[in-house]
Symmetry: C2
């Protein structure tokens, strides 16, 4: 393994363009001064963009990639162009050991497929999962996975997701013994599908894992902050994540409507603006940006397509924390602990 | 079929006790003066409670049931006591034709099991589904089903849910041609599971149905108001519903925290109180209360366990609207339209 302090960034991914990506990297670099960056994409454009960021320029190298993955490209199309696209080259830098992590704001499906093909899954992992931190009322974010990589799963997959999620929570949230729960439609033991009940059984019996299995959690408790890792299949995870985003926006829209419904409420709104700004910050997806594909031989972080400078910086910071925590090795270690129990 | 204007109410179900149930029925009666009520439960207790509601007393009959279903009772236990429990007797009154609908705030699983056994599914329906109206930014609520009756479904089930949901939307929301969509993790045709793609194919090909099939909808668009019926399996439906409830409460809690963070914001809050009250009303689950088991030979409405007087009245009002709309017959009619296309 070469220097772990390099992060490869797909400079061409993201809806907001190269300059926002570079500004995000520059912001992350100021937070993590021991990291350096491989900026992947059109060399001339990146060089020009870098002129606004002397601090980053001194700590970055450009890796040229002539092509880019489009938002509408199918995974199969993207894979064929892996060697020429900025996303493909960024992932390949991780494979080569030149970078400890890759970050992209591009097409999720393409990224998943390319990362899986280039990096392969860890021994003991059947399928990688997409994990992300979500805001809660508690002191920490909650880690949720899978958020859409696997529409269908078996009990074995869920158990592996639980182990990976716990390691991730230990690394990112600095928790000694994360509380892990399975997303279900009731909290009683007999609730849900056979797959979920079987996974719960395995997790209840597993010993020696650095986590505490807390049983089932329902959708209304996702943001309560009373659990650290929530495990589910990619279909319901994606539904839950997007429903939460949509509902937060819905309530915010209703609030906006309510506040503009009369002069009196408009005045009230102006007075309490610092409070509502605080709320807006807390719910801003850019503050929680950076989903990671867990279970691969290497760290690959997916930033929102529409991430702002702050969003990009958050995603890269998460990648840096995972590198520092030696995430991949720790997942492999914890998986070795559970495999015997699970095989029984 | 006897007089359709009787609704059987399980007076003993619900966490808030008999007096709230009776107050809710009394409120609903004032809204629907052509309906009368069969109040099922402990005769002496109901008689005593009715003394506060002379208007209801004149339009109600008591049907004695010595026992009640507990919140923790398993469906199998409840079924064995169907003939003696207030919930079982209320459903049986629908079976006998003495009531056009039954309403209960009791145990959902028990209610589902008893209703299915007593009333049986409509011809052409393999499984009933739990449907409920949810708030949106649009002019109407959106009807979502299944919300938890079936953890696993096949394409045929989803198609039947779509037809039933459309009839329900026509009846309750007064829509001529409801827009129906399948809940999925992307809007493109190739997204999701085989089950969902197969159901979409059948719905795209179906003609003559009083609905418009709008393809897939993601979790973040549930409350946008751009679709009238959202169809899904009971697992993801329950996850989405509870996530939406939980997130709305989460945002409200954050808002409360933000508003009490300083004297300035407290003052702002007090001034804009009428606006936030409006919001609270809009999100109050009691305003949207009343899930119905669609697909049975009879109307069975599930009210929230914790429903207030308003909540109970809303659930009963929904039941009354379904009776007026002749819901069961219309579902049977529309199903007959789709069955040939679907069998092909």
């Amino acid at each position: 393994m070469t220097a772990p302090s390099w992060i490869a960034v797909d400079a061409m991914g993201g809806d907001k363009g190269l300059s926002v990506m570079l500004a995000g990297v520059a912001q992350a670099r100021r937070r993590f001064e021991d990291f350096r960056f491989l900026l992947v994409g059109d060399e001339a454009a990146i060089r020009e963009g870098l002129s606004a960021h002397p601090g980053l320029t001194a700590n970055a190298e450009i890796v040229h990639a002539p092509d880019r993955v489009g938002a509408e490209d199918k995974p199969s199309q993207a894979i064929r162009r892996a060697r020429t696209t900025s996303m493909g080259v960024a992932i390949d830098l991780v494979k080569q050991g030149r970078a400890a992590a890759a970050v992209s704001s591009g097409n999720t499906g393409a990224m998943m497929a390319m990362a899986k093909l280039a990096l392969r899954t860890l021994p003991g992992i059947d399928r990688p999962a997409l994990a992300a931190p979500l805001p809660t009322l508690g002191d920490n974010d909650v880690i949720m996975l899978d958020l859409g990589a696997n529409t269908e799963v078996d009990a074995r997959n869920l158990v592996q997701f639980a182990v990976m999620g716990a390691v991730y929570a230990r690394a990112i949230l600095d928790l000694e013994t994360p509380r892990v729960a399975l997303l279900n439609i009731g909290s009683e033991d007999q609730k849900g599908t056979d797959v979920i009940r079987d996974a719960a059984q395995t997790l209840r019996n597993a010993t020696g894992l650095p986590m505490r299995f807390d049983g089932f959690v329902e959708g209304d408790r996702l943001s309560r902050g009373d659990v650290d890792v929530i495990v589910c299949d990619g279909f319901s995870g994606n539904i839950a994540l997007k429903t939460a985003e949509g509902t937060a926006r819905f309530v915010a829209d209703l609030l906006k409507r309510a506040f503009s419904s009369s002069v009196r409420s408009k005045i009230g709104f102006l007075i309490s603006r610092p409070a509502t700004e605080l709320l807006r910050h807390h719910l801003d997806p850019n503050v929680h940006n950076g989903a990671v594909f867990l279970g691969l031989n290497g760290i690959v972080v997916k930033s929102h397509g529409g991430a702002t400078e702050l969003g990009v910086a958050t995603a890269i910071s998460n990648a840096a924390k995972m590198v520092r925590a030696d995430l991949t090795r720790r997942i492999a270690q914890d998986l070795a602990t559970i495999t015997p129990a699970e095989a029984a």
